[in-house]
C-alpha cells in the first residue's frame, strides 16, 4: 500500500451509500478529487480569477500567469517535447475530434487508410468514421487475439504505404489491455503515417513520457486523473499543428481579423478558441502535483496489485467470466456473472455501497467481439485498498443469492 494514507485526502470517501461505507470502483469512468484540487480551484476563484490573455489589469495578469503555469506543469508531467504542442481542450473526446476535423479532413486523402483497433472507445472510432466517409478513406482494424491483446503481426501488414493515420488507445477501458504503443509509433512512422494515442486510461495510471513514446498526437482527460471535469489535453507535434486549420474559431485563437478574412494566433492558442476552462486547468495542474508527490511508478504498482487481486479472485468465483489479458493489465477489470445482467449486478452492489460501472463502456464493437450485450467493470485508483476487492467479491455473493 501507499506509505501515507491518501484516503484522508479524498473527502468523498467518508460518505455512506445506502448506509454502507462507499467502495468506489469506477475511477475509469471518472476519478474522485483530493482536497488539494478542490481547494486550488476555490483559491483561484476567490483571489486570482479573471479572463486570460486579455485584461491589462492585476487579476488578468495573475490568471494568465496561473493558466500558463498550469500548461507548463502538465507538459512536464507527460514529458512533452514542446510546450506549444500542449493544447487545453475539454477532454479526450474533444482532443480526438480536434485532430479528426483539423488534421483528418485536410490531410487524409481519398484511397488512404486510417488504422484503428476494435477496442477503441466510441470517441476514437466515430470521428474517424466521419473522416473516412467525407474524404473517401478506408478504415482498417488491427485484429485482437483471443486474450484481448493486439495482433501485432497483423498490424505490420495493415499499416502500409496507404496509411495516413494510426489511432489507437494506450490502455483499453474495458479489457485493460496495455497496447505496445511504442512499437505502433515506429510502425506508423516507418511508412510515413501519423499516429494518435488515446491516453485517457494511461496518463492517470502510469508514467507517460511523450519524448520516449514519440507520438504525433496524444490525448487525455483531467477528470480521470483527480482533476476537474471540462479540462483535458491534446498534445500535437508543433510542425503538424502549424499546418492544420483551426478547430473552433472566435476569440483567443485569432491574430488579425478583417471583414472577409482572418489570420490565426500562434500555437497553442490557435486551437484554444473562446475563454478556456481556466480554473479547471489550474485544478488539473494541482492534480498533477498531487500525483507527482506520490509518484506515478508507485501508483502503477498499486493499480497492478489491486488489479491482480481482482483478476485472481474473480476468476475463482463460480459462473464468473473475466475478460482481457491476465498480464500487462491496466487498472480495469471487466467481467460477467452468468445469468445476471450487469445492470442488476451494479444495482445490487450499490445496495452494499459499492460503485461499479455496467454497460457497454462506449465500446459497442468490442461488446460484439466479446459476444456480450454489456459487462460489469471494476476499476481501481490510488485511493483503493485490497479490502475494496474483498468487498466486491462479497457483494457478488450477495447479488448471486438475491437473483438466483
Amino acid at each position: 500500500m501507499l506509505e501515507r494514507d491518501v484516503r484522508r485526502d479524498f473527502p468523498i470517501l467518508n460518505i455512506k451509500v445506502n448506509g454502507k461505507p462507499l467502495v468506489y470502483l469506477d475511477s475509469a469512468a471518472s476519478s474522485q478529487k483530493p482536497n488539494d484540487v478542490l481547494q486550488s480551484y476555490c483559491r483561484f476563484c476567490e483571489s486570482r480569477y479573471a479572463n486570460v490573455h486579455r485584461g491589462i489589469h492585476t487579476l488578468g495578469e495573475a490568471a494568465t500567469g496561473d493558466y500558463e503555469a498550469a500548461r507548463r506543469t502538465v507538459a512536464e508531467f507527460i514529458n512533452a517535447p514542446e510546450l506549444e504542442g500542449v493544447i487545453f481542450t475539454r477532454g479526450t473526446t474533444e482532443s480526438i475530434n480536434l485532430v479528426a476535423r483539423s488534421f483528418g479532413h485536410k490531410f487524409i486523402k481519398h484511397g488512404q487508410s486510417i488504422v484503428l483497433t476494435p477496442m477503441e472507445h466510441h470517441a476514437n472510432l466515430v470521428p474517424w468514421q466521419l473522416v473516412a466517409k467525407a474524404v473517401g478513406a478506408e478504415l482498417r482494424f488491427i485484429p485482437l487475439k483471443e486474450d484481448g491483446t493486439l495482433d501485432i503481426s497483423e498490424a505490420r501488414k495493415l499499416i502500409d504505404h496507404t496509411t495516413a493515420l494510426v489511432s489507437v488507445t494506450h490502455v483499453s477501458n474495458v479489457l485493460g489491455t496495455i497496447n505496445p504503443v511504442g512499437e505502433l509509433v515506429q510502425l506508423a512512422h516507418k511508412v510515413g503515417a501519423k499516429i494518435l494515442v488515446d491516453g485517457a486510461q494511461s496518463v492517470p495510471h502510469m508514467p507517460v513520457s511523450l519524448r520516449e513514446l514519440n507520438p504525433d498526437f496524444y490525448a487525455f482527460s483531467g477528470h480521470k486523473m483527480l482533476g476537474p471535469t471540462g479540462i483535458g489535453v491534446l498534445y500535437g507535434r508543433p510542425e503538424i499543428l502549424a499546418d492544420m486549420d483551426p478547430f473552433l474559431t472566435g476569440g483567443e485563437m485569432i491574430r488579425e481579423v478583417y471583414l472577409d478574412h482572418a489570420t490565426w494566433n500562434e500555437l497553442p492558442y490557435k486551437f484554444e478558441a473562446g475563454t478556456p476552462a481556466i480554473a479547471e486547468a489550474i485544478g488539473l495542474a494541482e492534480a498533477v502535483r498531487y500525483l507527482t508527490s506520490i509518484g506515478m511508478e508507485r501508483i502503477a504498482q498499486l493499480d497492478h496489485l489491486l488489479t491482480s487481486q481482482a483478476l485472481n479472485k474473480l476468476s475463482r468465483e463460480p459462473d464468473t467470466k473475466v475478460y482481457g489479458p491476465r498480464t500487462q493489465h491496466g487498472a480495469v477489470v471487466s467481467f460477467n456473472v452468468k445469468g445476471i445482467h450487469p445492470h442488476d449486478l451494479a444495482g445490487l452492489l450499490d445496495r452494499e455501497g459499492i460503485a461499479i460501472r455496467a454497460g457497454h463502456h462506449c465500446c459497442q464493437p468490442l461488446m460484439r467481439w466479446l459476444d456480450v450485450q454489456a459487462t460489469a467493470r471494476a476499476s481501481f485508483y490510488l485511493y483503493n485498498v485490497p479490502e475494496d476487492v474483498d468487498a466486491l467479491i462479497e457483494g457478488l455473493k450477495v447479488a448471486r443469492k438475491v437473483l438466483a
Binding site: H341, H343, D344, G347, G359, Q373, A374, V402, L403
Partner: protein, 141 residues
C-alpha cells in the same frame, strides 16, 4: 436509494408471468434498449377492441423483465383505450413516483424506487413503450 430489488420484483423476475409465445397472436411488436441490451417482444391477441391475451419474450435486466411480466398481468382483458390510459398512468408513476388516483397499480408499485434512478427508467418502461408501439400498429391496421 429505496430498494428496487424487492421481493415482488424478484418474484416476477424469477417466475415471469405470461412468458412465451401465443397461439395465433394478432400482433407481435419488438422493443429494444440498445444501450442496455434489454430486448423484448410483446405478443397480443385481440378480441375486437379488447386485449384478450398478452405474452412476452425477451432478455434483459431484472427491472425490464419484471416490468414486462407485470404488464402482461395488468393489461390482459382491458380494452385498447383502457390500455392507453394505463400506459400513461404507469409512465407518470415511474417518472414522478406518484401513485395514480383510482385503480391501484398493484405489483407495479414495487417499481416506485425507479423514479429516483433516472438511468433505470428506460428499463422499467421498455415493455410499456413497446405496448404503445403495438397500439399504434393496431390503429394503422
Amino acid at each position: 436509494m429505496s430498494d428496487i430489488y424487492s421481493e415482488i420484483l424478484l418474484d416476477h423476475y424469477r417466475l415471469p408471468r405470461n412468458k412465451g409465445k401465443l397461439f395465433q397472436e394478432t400482433i407481435s411488436v419488438e422493443g429494444k434498449n440498445p444501450l442496455c441490451g434489454d430486448e423484448i417482444v410483446l405478443h397480443l391477441k385481440l378480441d375486437g377492441e379488447r386485449v384478450s391475451e398478452v405474452a412476452f419474450e425477451g432478455s434483459g435486466c431484472a427491472i425490464s423483465m419484471a416490468s414486462a411480466s407485470m404488464l402482461t398481468e395488468d393489461l390482459k382483458g382491458r380494452t385498447l383505450s383502457e390500455v392507453e390510459s394505463r400506459i400513461d398512468q404507469f409512465r407518470h408513476f415511474i417518472r414522478e413516483g406518484a401513485e395514480p388516483e383510482g385503480e391501484s397499480l398493484n405489483d407495479m408499485i414495487s417499481l416506485s424506487g425507479v423514479a429516483k434512478l433516472p438511468v433505470r427508467v428506460k428499463c422499467a418502461t421498455l415493455a410499456w413503450t413497446t405496448m404503445e408501439e403495438a397500439l399504434r400498429q393496431v390503429a394503422k391496421k
